[in-house]
């Protein structure tokens, strides 16, 4: 290995690390607010990447069908819930709006030739299609069991993940896809040659992290979400409903995943089932941050990116093993530092 290669590997590691860091933040956010370990986090990444690829290759965007289908189920569940609560038939406006939105993305996705439209339009449509999946998945699968033991939530999360992978295979097919880079230019930075897409990934991740930080630190809604994570009873008593908190955190998770998918799609080939490994690496970062510290998790995720990149060079067939083996010393260290605690149930 020489300096040139090390720089290249470092750059690669930085790029994937930035994405893992975002996913780690998102996993911690959802976990601390809802106790759900968001195994399907990676599906938001693959779905948005594959949606972008479908648009660019001139194929219809069929993901809208899933959005619409889930929205219809959510609508039915809301109507029944309202009926049980108030003993009268009403149609809740938010779920009706989501269903209408689902119909809208189905219609546009199947009819508009997105390959002739600009990148920004494609990105906008990918976000419009993928982000609603967050609140919809929460409504349909998690809201009815919000107070179930963590283990039940975990099992449902795994089931949702498996179902979404199956859905992904049906919707996008088994082929992998890669999208066009945002621009082809290359930046010379001292001895390093950096592809502009790498800068896009790092820049977008950094911007999104700062935006999230501002949201949580300064806005009332962001503070309300943090409050719900710190003390659920306290949050309920001041009028922050757990449903609101769960739905919002899942929306943010879907947004983070979708944006990640859009920026990495030009540098990695994404398959319908790539989400699991991607989010698992974000999860390693989250574990390093003890599922609670955002900065430590981000740092851990960046380290995961580097470890992955360098082990690709030295022992490429073992790279996943090396990355996940990293967890062992971290877990050991954590278990030695923390006094044993009982189950949270």
């Amino acid at each position: 290995m020489n300096g040139q290669i090390a720089l290249m590997l470092g750059q690669d590691g930085m790029t994937s690390g930035a994405i893992y860091a975002l996913l780690a933040l998102s996993i911690i956010l959802v976990f601390s607010v809802t106790r759900i370990l968001l195994v399907p986090q990676g599906e938001f990444v693959t779905f948005s990447a594959l949606t972008m690829a479908a648009m660019q290759s001139g194929r219809p965007v069929r993901l809208g069908v899933l959005v619409f289908g889930l929205a219809l189920v959510a609508l039915a569940m809301d109507i029944v819930a309202e009926r049980q609560r108030h003993r009268r038939w009403t149609v809740p406006r938010t779920s009706l709006a989501l269903a209408a939105h689902g119909l809208f993305v189905v219609g546009l996705g199947l009819s508009v030739p997105f390959d002739h439209l600009g990148l920004l339009v494609q990105i906008g449509f990918a976000l419009l299609t993928v982000v609603p999946l967050g609140p919809l998945i929460y409504r349909v699968f998690f809201q009815p069991i919000a107070s179930a033991p963590s283990l039940v939530l975990l099992m449902v999360a795994i089931a949702v993940h498996v179902a979404l992978i199956g859905g992904g295979l049906l919707i996008f097919g088994p082929e992998g896809a890669r999208t066009e880079p945002f621009s082809d230019s290359v930046v010379q930075l001292g001895p390093a040659i950096i592809a502009s897409q790498t800068l896009w990934v790092i820049g977008v991740s950094a911007a999104l992290t700062v935006a999230l930080w501002l949201f949580f630190e300064t806005s009332l809604w962001g503070k309300a979400l943090r409050a719900a994570a710190f003390n659920r009873l306290g949050a309920e008593l001041v009028g922050i409903s757990p449903v609101f908190a769960g739905r919002t955190s899942m929306t943010l998770a879907a947004l983070i995943g979708a944006v990640s998918g859009i920026v990495v799609a030009p540098i990695t080939t994404i398959y319908y089932d790539s989400g699991f490994l991607i989010s698992l690496k974000g999860f390693v970062g989250a574990i390093i941050g003890a599922m609670s510290s955002y900065p430590v998790a981000a740092l851990g995720a960046l380290m995961v990116g580097q470890a992955e990149s360098f082990s690709t060079f030295w022992a490429s067939s073992y790279k996943e093993i090396i990355v996940f083996t990293l967890l062992l010393p971290v877990l050991l260290w954590r278990s030695l530092r923390q006094p044993s605690v009982g189950d949270d149930e």
Binding site: R85, H86, L220, K223, A224, R226, A227, F230, N231, L233, G234, A235, E236, L237, V238, G239, I240, S241
Partner: protein, 260 residues
């Protein structure tokens, strides 16, 4: 006691935890501007009663606020009606600053155009100057007494009609307990109605206008607080020398109290 519609009227309220009835057929009234206390031994169902009133637990019976019956008492509705609960655990947002805790206390008022958040915050700081000094500090770094102040402040900032306090004196040093009860009296003077659940019966009866004794989920005795403080059974069970609030004897029959 005013003759107008009471702020809170509860009748035949029962709460069941799985099979066991933790609160059964409780009638309770809180008038505007009153301090009403519910005393009783550990496990009498006091906390369960408050949880049902704020809508955290499902209950049977009727709950009326301002004379209007609340059909399904769920927490968002009860909060919207102006009920506010400070739980025994205080349920603060530990890692967040004192000021953020207070600001979130007014979360339900976020769409209320007539609500001046800055003014409400100033009012809380005026009432609890210590919180102003500590406003940038994380809530979890405060002392026990300060945390109780913060919990009160967070409940008060949204200008509730009825403040429900669950064992506010728990874990506080005697000097702080005295200060706390002075604060509670100060709140009544400012027009806040209070439903106070306490094991410290002596202090509670001293500040309250009206009192209920809850035992095994039922109201054993009730009456004006000063009358109850002189009742020999209350004295022997809760106030007398050696009386331990955690070890009250049960009254077999409900005691007839003259009409208020």
């Amino acid at each position: 006691m005013t003759t107008s519609t009471p702020l809170l009227q509860v009748s035949k309220l029962s709460v069941a935890h799985s099979d066991i009835e933790a609160v059964s057929e409780v009638d309770l009234t809180v008038g505007e501007g009153q301090i009403v206390t519910v005393i009783g031994p550990n496990g009498a169902g006091k906390t369960t009663l408050l949880s049902a009133l704020i809508g955290l637990l499902p209950s049977r019976g009727t709950i009326s606020v301002d004379g209007e019956m609340i059909e399904r008492p769920e927490i968002d509705r009860m909060i919207a009606r102006g009920l506010s609960l400070v739980p025994e655990t205080r349920a603060l947002f530990g890692p967040m600053t004192v000021e953020d805790n207070l600001v979130l206390g007014a979360f339900r008022r976020r769409r209320d155009a007539g609500f001046d958040r800055a003014k409400a915050l100033d009012d809380v700081y005026a009432r609890f100057p210590r919180l102003w000094e500590r406003r940038r500090q994380a809530a979890e770094t405060l002392s026990g007494g300060e945390q109780q102040m913060l919990a009160l402040g967070r409940a008060l900032i949204g200008r509730p009609r009825l403040l429900m306090l669950d064992e506010p004196s728990l874990g506080l040093a005697p000097l702080l307990v005295r200060e706390l009860f002075r604060m509670i009296e100060g709140l009544r003077a400012a027009g806040v109605s209070i439903l106070l659940v306490e094991q410290n019966a002596r202090a509670a009866l001293r500040v309250a206008d009206y009192a209920y004794v809850l035992e095994l989920g039922r109201v054993g005795l009730e009456g004006p607080a000063d009358v109850l403080a002189g009742d020999p059974r209350v004295i022997s069970a809760y106030l007398g020398r050696g009386a331990d609030a955690t070890r009250g004897t049960s009254f077999a029959t409900r005691h007839e109290i003259p009409a208020r």
